[in-house]
Amino acid sequence: MTIMQSFTELVHQRQQRESAKRNRPVESEVTKLDVRNLNFFYGEKQALFDVSMTVAERAVTAFIGPSGCGKSTFLRALNRMNDIIEGAHHNGTVLLEGQEIYAPDVDVVSLRKRVGMVFQKSTPFPKSIFDNVAYGPKIAGQRNHKGLSEIVEQSLKRAALWDEVKDRLQDSALALSGGQQQRLCIARALATNPDVLLMDEPASALDPASTSRVEDLIFELKQNYTIVIVTHNMQQAARISDWTAFFYQGYLIEKDHTQKLFTTPKKKQTEDYITGRFG
């Protein structure tokens, strides 16, 4: 099967790259997020059916699946972004380091500080580059300008954007290119110093060059952060993720090491999807 072989090739390339960088081994066994029997509803409509999954610390976990399969809903359930939507409700548990994030004593504001999020469409605020990155720490109470400057510099460096914007931090963020805007949004999410970074198709609106930069960035970031990424692009999942989960019609069909899922999927539906027979 040629498609399977090409995925194997991609995964292999990635492993080589990792060993070249003397990275940690691919598998990390510490569980960061533990989701048990999650059912999710938008009003009457059920979007997720009994999903249970663990997300490993300091690794990239990719969600794949056709449109409307619930992968974005699941991602947004992990930092309670669905709370904003009227009529959304759920049952089941989501544990972040063993703590139930939907518990009444958990403040959603501090949860979202720990679990940052980057969206499909880059959404820079209509402010300067500096103010965009400084927004998170600022609203969390950081008023000291020197401290803010340090956070901004550090975050932009981590997002591999510093060299491009260091001379024009006061320019409008809207003047940046699409790829730069997306990396700015990543820097902005990093500025609140999260443990987990959720990314909802972060590269789907970008050109190939910008996509590759964002992918490299994700690859770098997983040394310090737990990353969960939703993607439509299976090659992308194969290139950057350690774990891949396949969603279909609200069910989690299969979750495994990326290499295993793309080469020897256990379920027929997974195999059909990654070989392009549907979806």
Binding site: R112, T123, F125, G136, I139, L174, C185, A189
Partner: protein
């Protein structure tokens, strides 16, 4: 091929005629408004500038000559720096201009916080429900209620205060501020603050609806992104939504204020005076504010007149000279309104250019 073309030809010519006719009708409708406005401006402008008659035409008696030189045409500095007078040549709009200025400032002070506050509540906090729909429909209806109805409400609520305070007692509430005290008459009676509150009621629906539209135009991705960074709803509204909606809100507010500025009917009903020989708080220039800062606090509780009222009174005056004064007053009022609208357009244009999503 030729048969169907032939069949269609008579219809085609007719359709082209209708096309042309419709274009002319539309063009005519446009020019109707423009021409009438132009004529109005020309006639008013002409009237404003052509009085008094030039010296040469005056009788050559020495007294008359002296009088002619000391008086001046409407739209001279004299016109702006003197109060209304029984002698048309000495009459001016000082009281009216300061009255209108105070009205606008007070209306802005009242209507912006209340209007923007309601808009934020309706757009950002209130759940979509029956109550919100009822409020929404009523807001749109209120924007179309005639000003005279608001005037009646203002009369009852502010001028008379529902008759809770009988007038002969002459009650006044003394409010202690840190350094000074303010006498607030109860009821408000025919003072600036009554007028301003009435006009506030009048423009509030407009301000709310315009602000709501501005808030709705802020993309929800901005709000989502802010929440995702751990912002509370207040922080999201304060730091992202309101700044992004500000140009739209400002435009709506300025247009509403210019409407309030031109209203005469409500002020007439609540009984603003037409002959006033003082300015609110005795402030006739900016330097007066520094000389007597307490005037700023007294001004809202002074009796007043306003530009549209002054114009109305002059037009109804039997002496023909007052007609020229009225025309000059109209020119001043139109100029101010035009300036305000220009500012609104400039703000909208400027922010449209530098904000794209």
């Amino acid at each position: 091929m030729s048969v169907p073309t032939k069949l269609q030809e008579p219809h085609l010519a007719r359709r082209h005629r209708i096309d042309k006719a419709f274009e002319w009708v539309c063009c005519g409708s446009t020019w109707f408004g423009v021409v009438v406005l132009g004529m109005l401006l020309l006639s008013v402008g002409w009237k404003a500038l052509t009085w008094p008659p030039s010296k040469a035409k005056l009788p050559s008696s020495p007294v008359a000559t002296v009088e002619a030189t000391s008086s001046s045409a409407p739209l001279s500095t004299r016109f702006f720096s003197s109060y209304d007078s029984r002698k048309p040549r000495e009459a001016g709009i000082l009281a009216a201009i300061w009255g209108s200025l105070w009205l606008i400032v007070l209306v802005a002070l009242f209507s912006v916080p209340i209007g923007v506050g309601s808009a934020v509540y309706l757009e950002e906090y209130a759940n979509d429900g029956r109550l919100k729909r009822i409020i929404q429909v009523n807001l749109s209806n209120l924007a179309g209620v005639p000003s005279i109805v608001y005037a009646l409400l203002g009369m009852t609520a502010f001028v008379k205060m529902f008759g809770f305070f009988t007038k002969d007692e002459g009650k006044s509430l003394v409010i202690n501020l840190l350094f000074t005290t303010v006498d607030v008459p109860l009821p408000f009676d025919r003072t600036l603050i009554s007028g301003a509150l009435t006009l506030t009621l009048l423009v509030l629906p407009t301000v709310i609806v315009a602000s709501q539209e501005a808030l709705r135009a802020v993309p929800s991705s901005i709000r989502t992104a802010s929440y995702a960074l751990g912002a509370t709803q207040w922080q999201t509204i304060r730091y992202q939504v309101i700044p992004a909606a500000m140009p739209g809100i400002m435009t709506g507010v300025i247009l509403a204020l210019s409407r309030a500025m031109g209203e005469a009917a409500p002020l007439m009903l609540i009984g603003a005076l037409t002959y006033v020989a003082y300015t609110p708080g005795d402030i006739t220039s900016v330097s007066d504010i520094f000389k007597n800062p307490h005037g700023l606090l007294d001004a809202p509780f002074d009796k007043f007149t306003a530009l549209p009222l002054q114009i109305y009174q002059w037009i109804n005056h039997p002496r023909a000279e007052y007609g020229h004064l009225a025309a000059a007053g109209i020119m001043v009022l139109l100029t101010i309104l035009l300036l305000m609208n220009t500012v609104a357009i400039v703000i909208r244009h400027k922010f449209q250019k530098c904000t794209r999503w």
